[in-house]
Symmetry: C2
Subunit: 483 residues, 2 copies
């Protein structure tokens, strides 16, 4: 309802973000520490994201299933790195049905353990492979510092868990799903990303290799927006999952897992929104066009509302994929409605008053541009086509603007002192040489708060010297401060 | 994979049910007591049910949202009846992030409390009403005796939670959603149900009135398949949720809640399936038609597979809503495949061998009938239309068969001794006079294990004498043993 002003980005980016989330009514704080309530607008956005991702998963041969929320504590301990990574973040159920449990149950922070326990029962021979399963679920990680969508104690996500007969198949799956995430981020969210491999320090607890897509937010910080893990045979060994190949030999099964979460909504906000509120790329927007009727008398009101309904019915027929809404509320003035729908990120509005009806025209205003130029006075008959074209253009423009910003704020740097200065003054991504040593990485993080975001896929091989130690490097990595 | 034989219904109905669930791979037992894993076939069924219900919810003006899984224990205690009903079933989180929590958190057994805590913050004036929200989520209830789908410690469901300015609006919403459930059960699940009001003993903990739809399973037992609650102002009072009406007066908000769960899958199985496995009504079936190609040599194989692919492509084009599958697996014989798809409930199969291709025909076999009559040799060109017609007929036939069974096993009875005898010998639903007293109801339950399922909506008023006490009754109620 935009009762309060949104803090400008230039004043305080973090506060701007929270203001946008709360005032657009995407989400609210829950009564439980670190948890959130996803309100109808936020959930409608999540549903649109789910629908697009889910069909991409199904097109690549995956099926959905559902595994239990509660996992025996002992399961986590079966994979050494995994328990080390996740045990400190677990929420633990100790009582059920009024009694203390024999063994505590943890709420899934991720489901590898319980899923591989089931895979042991389901996999006997190579004929049972591959298993290509995805799950849409809630997960719980006890986070110290939380922020709506970006880091919450409970969040919604999808987690793919696949089982393969060979290492190359598992590797191929890992890269296939990373590419699905890249496509979704860029083509649906209009959010440019860099796919790459995470360093040893940053990889998933229990993985052989972790890959991610990294996006740049408007404040120059990086956001890890999706991960795909090559798990090797680690979980198969921990849960004793073997299969018989066609020569009768037994071997451990190869695994991958991959996920994206409601965190993406935070990424979407910080990529596109502005000081007036939410901006959503049309492909994911719950509302494409709001028609705001304008009247000054009861007589005008009935004429305008009658016309507005008739016109919208016609537009819906001519542009059936477009999500229209008529804001016919009595108690608010048009200016208030414009403002509210700007905060809530409707892609366009159409203004319709008595004069417009006389002239058989409407005024279209795009959320991302907002200019009311002559060009936007559109004859009613042309409007459905024009709206479709503007939505396409908006999707394209949002990506182009984000891409330009990302390029403008990506800096090649070789000197550590210069890096430190630019990191504070300019921010963004830095293409730097690194010697590949985890200790060097930790030192950089301690001294600058920046981390190595990823080793970009398909980077140009370029011999150089690590900007910190001067040791040899085979190519540049991305260093940045991150969410 | 149907490795083992399914126990016939006549031998042991309970075992038959478990056999069907496990062998069709709808679900499996999880490593945690009372929990289940919903396997891809079961989840695909759930997704189809969700899609149909979700669009009915949206057509009636509801929006989806998401509230937190963990609820402060103190919230439950704010509504006296609610805590009495649900506290004994709660799973309790006592530790998070390695520390003991100040206040334990319960995993939601249902979300009234946390949702009404949020509604207090969102509702100020009558302009904020109604709120029409639904949530798709997992819930946890610590059940003593569990059974796959029918009663599990964790299950998936939807829960609608609405807030209204007046009592009549809340009542209207309660009845509207009951009717949505009736429509879904009968038109999608092909499962006839009786909508009615629950007795005081059986109503939801915290409700003013509970309504349900009751279905009859093949063994004559009742299954409560969905509930809609008129909550009155109970939760508004417990959570202090008031609103200002247009005259400036403050009043408590009126509430409803309503839900169906993965239990419906159990109901669907026990309504339609047979001794050979799963039968699913076409409107919800993950697979409508499986084509099984037949070959005896490698040469035949390539001809048949090439033709099968070509024919299916043509059918998909001509019948785009039909979900086709080609079972081209090498390692299994046609007879094995027929059997497997019968266990897994594909609605139809099409057999295609070299002779069929020569004669430009196929053999269609419906899962519910299975006869291979002359009528089912169908010219390829006519097949797409014929398949559509058979699926429509199957949807209709399944409902008609269930309806006939329900009518045949519904008995009007006035004598308590006769009731007891018939309950054991014949089972099913009994239309009986009851004096409306909770004590009488309890006595019946103790003596016969039958319960009053509901007071049917729109029953014919009929004065009579309670079959147990002889006291006055205004009309008949349904008594039956139930799941």
């Amino acid at each position: 309802m935009a009762k309060e002003k949104i803090t400008p980005r230039s004043d305080d980016f973090s506060q701007w973000y929270i203001d946008v989330v709360l005032q657009s009514q995407l989400a609210d704080y829950a009564p439980v520490r670190g948890c959130m309530v996803i309100r109808p607008l936020g959930y409608a956005l999540w549903e649109n994201m789910q629908r697009a991702l889910d069909s991409m998963f199904k097109e690549t041969g995956h099926q959905n299933a559902y595994f239990p929320l509660m996992i025996p504590e002992s399961f986590l301990k079966k994979e050494a790195e995994h328990v080390e990574g996740f045990a400190p973040e677990c929420a633990v159920v100790t009582h059920g049905g009024g009694k203390e449990l024999d063994e505590p149950l943890v709420l899934r922070p991720t489901s590898e353990t319980v899923i591989w326990d089931m895979y042991r029962r389901w996999i006997e021979s190579h004929r049972d492979l591959p298993i290509l399963i995805n799950q849409w679920a809630n997960v719980v990680r006890w986070e110290m510092r939380t922020r709506l969508f970006l880091r919450t104690t409970e969040f919604l996500w999808q987690e793919g868990h696949t089982a393969h007969a060979t290492e190359p198949e598992a590797r191929e799956e890992t890269m296939r799903m990373l590419e699905v995430y890249r496509t979704f981020a860029e083509e649906w969210m209009a959010m440019p990303v860099t796919p790459g491999r995470k360093t040893e320090n940053e990889k998933f607890a229990g993985a052989l290799e972790t890959y991610s897509i990294e996006a740049m937010m408007q404040d120059g910080r990086a956001l890890q927006a999706g991960t795909s893990h090559h798990l090797g045979q680690n979980f198969a060994k921990a849960f004793d999952v073997t299969f018989q190949d066609d020569s009768g030999k037994r071997d451990y099964v190869w695994a991958t897992s991959w996920g994206v979460s409601t965190r993406l909504i935070g990424g979407l906000i910080m990529t596109h929104s502005d000081d007036d509120g939410l901006i959503v790329p049309p492909k994911l927007a719950p509302t494409h066009l709001v028609m705001v009727p304008i009247w000054r008398s009861d007589e005008q009101k009935s004429t305008v509302l009658e016309a507005a309904n008739r016109i919208l019915d016609d537009w819906k027929l001519k542009n059936p994929t477009c999500r229209f809404h008529l804001d016919d509320r009595d108690q608010f003035k048009p200016g208030f409605k414009y403002n509210e729908w700007e905060v809530k990120g409707a892609c366009m509005r159409a203004e319709l008053g008595p004069k417009d009806i006389e002239n058989q025209q409407t005024v279209l205003v795009r959320r991302d541009k907002r200019e009311k130029s002559d060009k936007m006075f559109v004859p009613l008959s042309e409007a459905p086509t024009r709206i479709g074209a503007e939505l396409d253009a908006m999707q394209h423009d949002l990506f182009a603007a984000a891409k330009a910003r990302q390029e403008e704020r990506t800096t090649v740097v070789d000197d550590y002192e210069e890096f430190k200065t630019l990191l504070e003054e300019k921010g963004g991504f830095f293409m730097v040489h690194w010697d590949g040593d985890g200790e060097t990485e930790k030192r950089m993080q301690e001294e600058t708060k920046a981390t190595i975001r990823c080793i970009p896929l398909g980077r140009t091989p370029e011999k150089g010297k690590c900007m910190i130690t001067g040791k040899e490097s085979k190519g540049r990595v991305i260093a940045a401060k991150a969410y």
